[in-house]
């Protein structure tokens, strides 16, 4: 595991990984330039983003935010991308916001609570995992419902002949107690197969969104 997104991306560039749980951004490079193939994704899960403000903030609608808004987010590229798209209805983009980059979603929440940021962009799942105390002091303006963007477990060119075997092991993980335990600690109850076509579709989608 790599503790930040850049370290992981560098490891991919240097061909230092053969198995990887990758976000949709890295998936593009892995599939198109590095010869990786998808194995599985978390069943029924997708990566979504949430735009939230301090509960005391009077803004009702993202469209009412103004240029110069201070926006806190982590360095997770797909969450930032989804969040920035949800801010476009207010004509906000990289050129007219004040960015506050943090290393975790909890720190994004802190920036809102301390009044250092006006708006926070969260990975939806991480927002849901914030404590009740913190969530009570925040208000969600909008949550994405994209459904087609997700992390995927992927396999590198050196292991391709083992693809089906590894896929099978992963898909059967929820049929034994130990596997179930591992899955539930990851926050879902099984894997599902990801086909190459589905992956290509997601990569095109992310490509279109990052423009």
């Amino acid at each position: 595991m790599h503790d930040d997104f850049h370290a992981q991306t560098d490891a991919i560039k240097n061909d230092a990984v053969d198995l990887i749980y990758a976000n949709s951004f890295d998936a593009a490079m892995l599939i198109r330039d590095k010869g990786f193939l998808p194995l599985v994704k978390a069943k029924g899960k997708s990566d979504e983003a949430i735009i939230a403000v301090n509960a005391e903030n009077l803004v009702e609608d993202v469209a009412h935010l103004e240029a110069g808004t201070k926006i806190a987010y982590t360095d997770d590229p797909d969450v930032k991308m989804m969040g920035m798209i949800m801010l476009e209805p207010a004509d906000l983009d990289a050129s007219n916001i004040e960015s506050i980059v943090t290393s975790t979603n909890i720190l994004v929440a802190k920036k809102l609570l301390q009044g250092d940021a006006d708006v926070g962009i969260f990975l939806a799942e991480a927002f849901d995992d914030l404590s009740k105390m913190i969530k009570m002091q925040l208000r969600v303006l909008v949550k994405s419902e994209i459904t087609d963007i997700h992390h995927s477990f992927m396999i590198g060119p050196k292991l391709l002949d083992k693809r089906e075997e590894i896929q099978k092991v992963l898909l059967e993980m929820n049929s034994c107690e130990k596997g179930k335990g591992v899955l539930s600690s990851l926050g879902f109850d099984g894997w599902e197969t990801v086909e190459v076509d589905e992956m290509e579709f997601m990569i095109d989608l992310v490509d279109a969104l990052s423009t």
Binding site: A63, E88, V142, I146, D148, F201, A208
Partner: protein, 158 residues
């Protein structure tokens, strides 16, 4: 398949016009002043063949367009063509994507019920093993400022 619009489907008072579409298709459309707001946080996604025939739509596409999936798959994408959209916009779209580039623009789309909705669309070529095999369009919520600019600009482009 693309048919003339059916007065029975239309909600509200409507105007009528005939559009000349690609492949010598002529289509009678009926359209109203009723705008459906773009849903927050959602993307409207479709894919087409190289000729613009719809091959995939997501649930938001179905909901916003008002058509069923069966009506959409196999139809030319101009099934959403609104009379207020200048032909030059779509010429630019096709010129751009056929060159292999991305196209981005603001589009007023026609609903089955005669109403409309504005989107910010990005169309990209689907490249597989080095070949363009189709196109994907991903729409997101546009800003009102940008929509108002188009409302002023588009009528001058005919």
């Amino acid at each position: 398949m693309i048919n003339d619009m059916n007065p029975e489907d239309i909600v509200g008072e409507f105007k009528e016009v005939s559009l000349d579409l690609y492949d010598s298709i002529s289509r009678k459309i009926l359209y109203t002043d009723i705008e459906t707001p773009y849903p927050d946080g959602k993307l409207i996604v479709s894919t087409t063949t190289l000729k613009g025939i719809i091959t995939h739509v997501n649930p938001s596409f179905i909901r916003m367009s008002g058509f069923t999936e069966e009506e959409l798959i196999g139809a030319p994408h101009s099934i959403l063509r609104h009379a207020d959209m200048p032909p030059a916009a779509f010429k630019d779209l096709w010129d751009t994507v056929l060159k292999g580039d991305k196209w981005q623009g603001f589009v007023k789309n026609l609903r089955k019920y005669g109403g409309f909705y504005w989107v910010k669309a990005t169309v990209i070529p689907n490249v597989r093993q080095g070949e363009v095999v189709g196109f994907t369009s991903v729409r997101r919520k546009p800003s009102r400022t940008k929509v108002n600019e188009c409302v002023a600009l588009y009528p001058t482009m005919f």
